[in-house]
Amino acid sequence: MNRHWSKFNIVSVVLGFAFLYIPILLLIIYSFNASKLVTVWAGFSTKWYTAAFANQGLVDAAWVTFRVAIISATIATVLGTLAAMALARNTRFRGRFLFSGMIYAPLVMPEVITGLSLLLLFVAVGMDRGITTVTLAHITFSMCFVAVVVQSRLASFDRSLEEAALDLGATPARAFFSVTLPIIMPAIVAGWMLAFTLSLDDLVIAQFNSGPGATTLPMKIFSQVRLGVTPEINAVCTILVGVVTTGVIIASLSIKRQEVRAARAERLATQT
């Protein structure tokens, strides 16, 4: 769409972004507040960060969360990519409708239902709740997000490139790993990051599926927040926001660069 950028447009964009960003900015600013009262400004201080790092419970929870997120994102990316290939390349197979239903439904399914149902499964097969069950639960819902992200990249992928590799004598595996995979790599990386942050974020599903010794950071934050807003939690939240934001910005810049390069290579390959 190419239109005149009117005053009304500018104002709605500015107001929209103000609404999206001011709360987070205020949270960050007040994490540097010297006062224990979260809403009264009493000068700059980093003491809440020291306090957060000294809190063993928080550090342990952060470690659990990090491990769960790394493992679940990695497995979810493999499964999600396979699912995306299955959906994008096989327009017809038995049970496709059910399959695509199971991919799209978790995207909107209320978390309480997903959490409860997985817990019942684990209880029924007699699995103890802990890090393993949380990881399995996270793989299940985040693989669907990965599948959707990768599928949209595969939809625009030119199949003739892979066919050309096969004609030139590459084995199917070789054709996949040296032609298809590099081209869909940006989507796979984006999918992994999405899975990682979804796992990092999740409170409800973890609450249902974790057991003693497997308290994740969101669970810890939630139980403390219920008692009231504390500057220490503000500090933890600021660190989390900072880590995720930096990661996303770096990754999307490098994906952008790689995409430009890949597009150029793809164009060259199809021209010659």
């Binding site: 950028w5 809403t39 299955a86 309480v112 942050t197």
Partner: protein, 302 residues
Amino acid sequence: MNALQPIVKRATIWLPYLWLLIFFLAPFVMVVKLSVSEPAIAQPPYIPALDWLDGPLGWWEDIKKFSFSNYTFLTQDALYWKSYLSSVQIALISTVLTLLIGYPLAYGMASAPRTLRPLLLMLVILPFWTSFLIRVYAWIGILKKEGLLNQFLLWLGVISEPLTIMNTNWAVYIGIVYSYLPFMVLPLYANLEKQDSALLEAAADLGCSKMSAFWQITWPLSRPGVIAGCMLVFIPAVGEFVIPSLLGGSSTLMIGRVLFDEFFQNRDWPVSSAVAVILLLLLIVPIMLFQRSEVRAREQSA
């Protein structure tokens, strides 16, 4: 047609398929099964309604013993149907508010200079990456009685005494709109950005005012985006747990929270399963609508 070897090809389908069958579909069967079981003071706290080891004949015996007392219990206690109603109501109001804020934002983004658009898109996606819990938490400090919003409004002189927003439904609306705004803006933007501006020029040439051109051309064309955005907000909002429990008050009834409390505080697993089954039935139509629009969108882009 597929270049990969048949076995590998089959594995690409069956591996994720099997995973989802075990970890997505089977758990739902468990929920349904548990919802017709009797509660018990035990670990786990219920008597299984169906024992897989009983064999086909035994299953029939088990089925005859299914107890629907959990469902009748839901109809007897007003708390439950009131919670369902108020969840749907809160989700509806929030969805409409999100649309009212999200549409102008998406429209403004789509009309922005082409070079600026990737940056704006990134700015919409970025909050989506930051923790949901943290974004909800950030509002507590703002909406509290002695919070930043009240301080600001008092300082402006707009109000003479602090407003009570925290722990009311309004806080829940604000929380939902804020958390789900990117979900509304992204499909709307994708739709609006693709629309052909020549249509609007043609309308202007034919003497159509900007306002009526919008209502007669842009709005109807953006319907798929509106539907996708509204579903992405409405469905999860109905079962929302974090927002009502952090921002809502004791009078804010939402079914996600009821289910959670039933499970963790009353430890009544069969009743919370029955609550989940009804919630799922309630959402099945919107979920199917969403899935159909998703599949159609994918197939068009393919």
